[in-house]
């Protein structure tokens, strides 16, 4: 450069001046564009040439007047907006209409202005971090119109007033409302939220707070719920028609809070129409309505669930502790089943099969079923009833259904091993007296129990079935063997061979059998021990039954179906007409209570009294005497003489079963302790109790005291030892 300035004398002066644009060029060009903007705002664009304007705007940027042009744009548009603002403020009556009209004008104008300044939008604006033209127009509108104090409050008031009117049932111009809210969202979601949404939510909250106060006093629960549902739907519909969709969750939250959450406790506990009357009355639709509404608010469903659960527990507890109900176990279980069915139906129909409600239902049942410690026995009796009487259940399918339902109750039981004990007894009775409805149904039930509790639980029950099966084969073998083929004139015998341990057998002294029977028995014993080595047979005379042919006074013959004990007693009367109680006891050696029961059924039941008792009274005393009743008559040839059996257990029997269950639990608890310790080696007392309880709770809930005793016993037997350093710890001794 310095070299050039030295060459001044040369005639290059003409080049010395930089070629400059006409200094007025920018002013003149901008004037053209500004004029055009004015004409556009005045709806007078038809005279403008787009090509000329575009070229001018292009040149402005090309000749580095981009900034000039941009600032000019801002001030011109601002001036127009101020004019518009005044026009809107002074609008009479239809303020929203005027605002909307001006908004349409403005956006249309900005669209055209942007067309003219498109080149600037593409080049100058991004490199200089300016706001694009159309967006600039929106921002200016926001600043000069919406945020103008006079317009903003009036705008919000008008919008809210329209909405209030609509809530009160009037018809409003939704199209206009939509245009105005759309304008606010186009200006940016924050504008919509700050200018409109916030006040809208506040006003709605106070509106619904007032309305709900009013309605809760006069409406019953069902009507109130329907009103709330309708209001929520209305608000959702309003949003879809003319508000921004993001408002929906906010406004529904407001309505839910005011209409539902604030009053939910009052609604649930409303007298005569709250939750409990609905449950009692099976009002599925109302319950469903309540569920849907309460689902929307925090802890709403928990409230319903808790009230339902406590109601269930209370009614259930009443049911299981009502002494009247204990008289009929079948009815007792049936009522429980009905109750479960009812609530299951409610949960399915009204509570969308909600898992939490199912769990609450289960927990409640588990709670009150285990209050009554006879529940395991009753459930078994119910199954017994279903499987015994073929008449009640028409088909296998029905039996299956009943069993499935009762299995649900079974799942609630904590003391499943007690159930197993009773089930074994009842099953034994059914099998031995061949009274079960069908083997298929029995096996089905066992399969269900197996899937429920595992192989261990049912292995003995299955053993019982196998015994029955092999007994049939054995009997066939006996009669085909030399021992059995010369028995034509002897009484026929059917022997069930029961594996010790599988059956609920007691060690009972065999009663003295009649001589005729003893011969047959000995024959069978010889046959059986001859074919099976190393076995021992004990006769369980308390379980068998017999068919007797009897001839009475006038020569009428009857076939009497009796138990083995009864047979023994009756056979005595072949050689005597009158026997005292003591004589009978001596001759048969039947245990006292059984004998009494057996004599009672022979002498005291009307229509089946093949014996007469002296004196005539209901109860058997040890001084009574018995006579053969030769005046006995019956229309039937076959007379079945049932034993007077208390279906339910008597008190001492119950105690005995309990005790046996407790005894059976001991080895199971010990096994569990050893399993735990084997894997953990060292553990403190509380952890052992927790783990053992976890392992065993599928069968029963072990008592911590019992666990402690078992641990002590294991220490004595040197399976475990106490840690020498820390006495609370136990150590496994391998």
């Amino acid at each position: 450069m310095s070299g050039q300035s030295k060459k001044k004398p040369f005639k290059i002066e003409a080049y010395k001046h930089r070629v400059e644009v006409d200094p007025k060029y920018a002013d003149r060009t901008w004037a053209v564009i500004e004029h055009a903007i004015n004409e556009i705002y005045n709806h007078n664009a038809s005279g403008l040439s787009f090509e000329e304007l575009y070229r001018n705007a292009y040149n402005m940027v090309l000749y580095k007047f981009g900034e000039r042009q941009y600032n000019g744009l801002v001030s011109t548009v601002t001036r127009h907006l101020k004019d518009m603002g005044k026009a809107i403020e002074s609008a009479q009556g239809s303020f929203l209409d005027e605002l909307n009209r001006k908004w349409t004008d403005h956006t249309k104008s900005m669209q055209m202005i942007r067309d003219v300044l498109m080149y600037m939008d593409r080049t100058y604006i991004p490199t200089n971090h300016k706001t694009p033209v159309y967006e600039l127009g929106l921002n200016l509108w926001r600043d000069h119109i919406i945020h103008s104090a006079k317009i903003q409050t009036r705008l919000v008031d008008m919008l809210l007033e329209q909405i209030h009117r609509e809530r009160m049932g009037e018809v409003i111009n939704r199209g206009l409302m939509r245009s105005v809210t759309k304008m606010l969202t186009e200006l940016g979601s924050s504008v919509y939220q700050e200018v409109f949404e916030k006040s809208f939510l506040d006003v709605s909250a106070s509106f619904y707070s007032g309305e709900s106060q009013q309605y809760i006093e006069v409406y019953n629960c069902s009507n109130y719920l329907r009103m709330a549902e309708k209001r929520i739907n209305e608000e959702v519909e309003r949003v879809s028609h003319y508000l921004d969709s993001k408002t929906e969750p906010k406004i529904t939250a407001v309505v839910e809070k005011e209409l539902v959450e604030t009053h939910m406790h009052r609604l649930v506990h409303m007298e005569n129409s709250g939750l409990i009357p609905m449950l009692v009355g099976n009002m599925y639709e109302d319950l469903n309505c309540m569920y849907n509404l309460f689902k929307r608010v925090p802890s709403g469903l928990n409230l319903i669930k808790d009230v339902m659960a406590s109601h269930l527990k209370e009614t259930g507890k009443q049911l299981v502790t009502d002494p009247d109900r204990l008289k009929d176990p079948v009815d007792f279980i049936q009522r429980l089943l009905d109750m479960r069915e009812k609530y299951n139906e409610i949960i399915t129909k009204s509570f969308h099969n909600d898992k939490a409600f199912q769990n609450a239902l289960n927990a409640s049942f588990e709670y009150f079923i285990n209050i009554n410690n006879r529940s395991p026995e009753f459930i078994s009796l119910f199954v017994d009833d279903a499987l015994r009487k073929g008449v009640k259940a028409a088909s296998d399918d029905d039996v299956d259904q009943v069993l499935d339902r009762v299995l649900v109750l079974f799942r609630y039981l904590q003391e499943k091993d007690v159930f197993e004990k009773y089930y074994k007894q009842h099953l034994a009775k059914r099998l031995l007296s061949a009274k079960s409805v069908s083997e298929e149904a029995e096996r089905g039930m066992i399969l269900k129990l197996k899937t429920e509790c595992g192989y261990q639980f049912t292995s003995k029950l299955e053993g019982m079935f196998n015994d029955i099966k092999t007994s049939q084969d054995t009997m066939l073998g006996f009669y085909n063997s030399p021992y059995g083929n010369d028995m034509a004139d002897m009484p026929a015998i059917t022997v069930q061979i029961l594996t010790t341990g599988s059956w609920p057998t007691q060690n009972i002294n065999t009663c003295i059998l009649p001589a005729e029977i003893v011969i047959v028995c000995e024959k069978f014993k010889a046959y059986y021990l001859g074919t099976h080595n190393g076995r021992r047979l004990t006769w369980q005379t308390n379980m068998g039954h017999a068919d007797l042919k009897a001839t009475f006074g006038k020569g009428q013959k009857h076939e009497l179906n009796v138990s083995t004990y009864q047979m023994c007693v009756l056979m005595l009367f072949n050689s005597a007409d009158r026997l005292t109680y003591r004589e009978i006891e001596q001759a048969t050696d039947i245990p006292g209570p059984d004998l009494k029961r057996c004599l009672q059924s022979l002498a005291c039941v009307r229509g089946k009294n093949v014996l007469r008792k002296e004196p005539m009274s209901r109860d058997i005393s040890e001084d009574d005497a018995f006579l053969f009743n030769d005046k006995f008559t019956s229309k039937l040839v076959k007379v079945k003489i049932g034993t007077v059996v208390a279906q339910k257990e008597t008190e001492p029997e119950k105690m005995e079963t309990r005790q046996r269950v407790e005894e059976d639990r001991k080895p199971q608890i010990e096994a569990a302790i050893v399993r735990v310790m084997k894997s953990r080696r060292v553990l403190d007392h509380n952890s052992i109790v927790t783990e053992v309880t976890n392992q065993l709770q599928a069968r029963f809930l072990p008592n911590p005291v019992v666990i402690k005793k078992r641990i002590e016993s294991l220490i004595e037997r040197e399976f475990l030892e106490r840690d020498k350093a820390d006495r609370r710890l136990y150590r496994y001794m391998a």
Partner: protein
């Protein structure tokens, strides 16, 4: 109806007649779109436009046919300027070159550089532009190959550059002792301004660091990886979210795997792992590994430990994971390609895992004794590219057969190349010139 569809223009005195259907191809966001919009009283008998008629003719032809044919009397720059006036620049770019195919590439341009010395790296932008890192400068070019404002880093050495998108360039730079600067930052491609610096924190303490190789994860999870060397023991791979700019993770270096010195990072979406190749470590052995950031493990790695280091031995000089994610391709100083199977277990033993395909015999040239540039590898749409000396080889098909060679007569050997925006850019060493290769648009028949 036909005549109403007709539109007449007088451009700089020359008459053109076309249809509004043709003009609709320009789109509403263009000068012609606005001109014919109903808000601007359309339906005039003739529109006058005060512009160059030859360019208008070319652009009108582009709107009619979708193909760009620039007559010899129209300079390209002039056409670009006019296209910008009409708002049709994107149309021109879209029609200028066709979809990338390594076997149809032709040299489109050579751009001379001014900077002295070696270039560090060249990177292609997604829109067809590129940038060249050079010492402490990054020269940025738009797709018209006009140089934009360069990015100057105040004399810190640039290690690697990459495009987050066409408008944002991320740069990693060496830390200068005592200054506490260096590290990694995003710059605007258009203006060269600093947008954001990525920080590294160790135990909530911000640290200065030297950032090395870069990798961007797949576009949908916004992650950006860089090897980092801190002053103390903060060596490893940092991960940032380039939307929020925040550091999201850090993979500390395990002993024996120098991650902080990594030369190549590559995200493998199919394995959810990052491949790290450290080929010129200062102390350790050459190492290639896959990093799993979820459990901070290295499920696979390879190293050349045990190979006697001798100039004659085959050394791995660059590595790239193949697009199928089953193998890593490597190259040695003899221009042999080698493959390491990723599906095999750890191949720690003495580089035996490399299956070399001896290609040097095929090349009819002597291997220069003294290398001035290390070879580089790249993959694109199933094709594999390698540069060696002054040429780039293109390998195609599953067997990676050499199918094309791209060579220029001057410029010296190629020190880096990059593929993107359907173009290949090759940076030459000596003249500091870079070549632009593109595939021509598909022929009509």
């Amino acid at each position: 109806m036909a005549s109403r569809d007709r539109v007449r223009f007088n451009v700089g005195g020359q008459l053109f007649e076309t249809t509004s259907t043709t003009l609709a191809n320009a789109g509403r966001e263009s000068m012609l779109g606005a001109l014919l919009d109903e808000s601007w009283n359309p339906g005039q008998p003739e529109y006058f436009i005060d512009r160059n008629p030859a360019c208008f003719s070319t652009l009108l032809d582009l709107l009619r046919t979708g193909a760009l044919h620039i007559p010899s009397n129209v300079p390209e720059k002039l056409l670009y300027r006019e296209a910008l006036y009409y708002g049709l620049l994107d149309h021109v770019r879209g029609a200028k070159w066709g979809p990338f195919d390594g076997n149809t590439l032709r040299l489109a341009d050579s751009v001379p550089g001014r900077a002295p010395g070696d270039g560090t790296a060249i990177r292609a932008a997604p829109d067809g532009g590129c940038c060249v890192a050079h010492g402490s400068m990054v020269h940025v070019y738009n797709w018209m190959l006009e140089e934009r404002r360069p990015i100057s880093l105040d004399y810190q050495q640039v290690n690697d550059v990459g495009y987050i998108d066409a408008n944002s360039i991320v740069i990693t730079a060496r830390e200068r002792l005592g200054k506490g600067d260096g590290g990694m930052a995003v710059f605007s491609a258009a203006t060269g301004e600093l947008r954001h610096r990525f920080r590294v924190e160790h135990g909530r303490q911000p640290k200065s660091f030297t950032a090395g190789a870069l990798s961007l994860a797949c576009p949908d999870d916004h992650h950006i990886f860089s090897s980092c060397k801190g002053r103390l023991n903060e060596y490893g791979i940092g991960v940032w979210d380039h939307n929020t700019g925040q550091q999201v993770d850090f993979f500390y270096e395990h002993p024996g795997c120098s991650l902080g010195d990594a030369d190549k990072l590559q995200w493998l979406p199919s394995k959810n792992c990052l491949m790290v190749a450290t080929l010129f470590p200062r102390t350790d052995n050459c190492f290639i590994g896959l990093l799993d950031f979820r459990d901070k493990s290295i499920p696979w790695c390879w190293s050349d430990a045990g190979i006697t280091v001798n100039l004659e031995d085959k050394r791995v000089l660059h590595a790239i994971a193949m697009e199928d994610g089953h193998s890593i391709c490597v190259i040695n100083q003899y221009d042999d390609l080698g493959f390491i199977d990723l599906r095999a277990g750890n191949t720690n033993s003495a580089g035996t895992g490399v299956r070399w395909s001896s290609r040097s015999k095929l090349m009819n040239q002597k291997v220069p004794y003294e290398e001035s540039c290390y070879p580089k590898l790249a993959t694109h749409n199933g094709q594999l590219f390698s540069c060696m000396n002054d040429s780039i080889s293109v390998f195609s098909g599953s067997e990676h057969v050499l199918t094309s060679t791209l060579r220029r007569s001057y410029g010296g050997s190629i020190c880096d190349f990059s593929i993107g925006g359907d173009r290949l850019f090759a940076l030459h060493n000596e003249e500091n010139v870079f070549d632009v290769w593109e595939s021509p648009p598909c022929p009509i028949i």
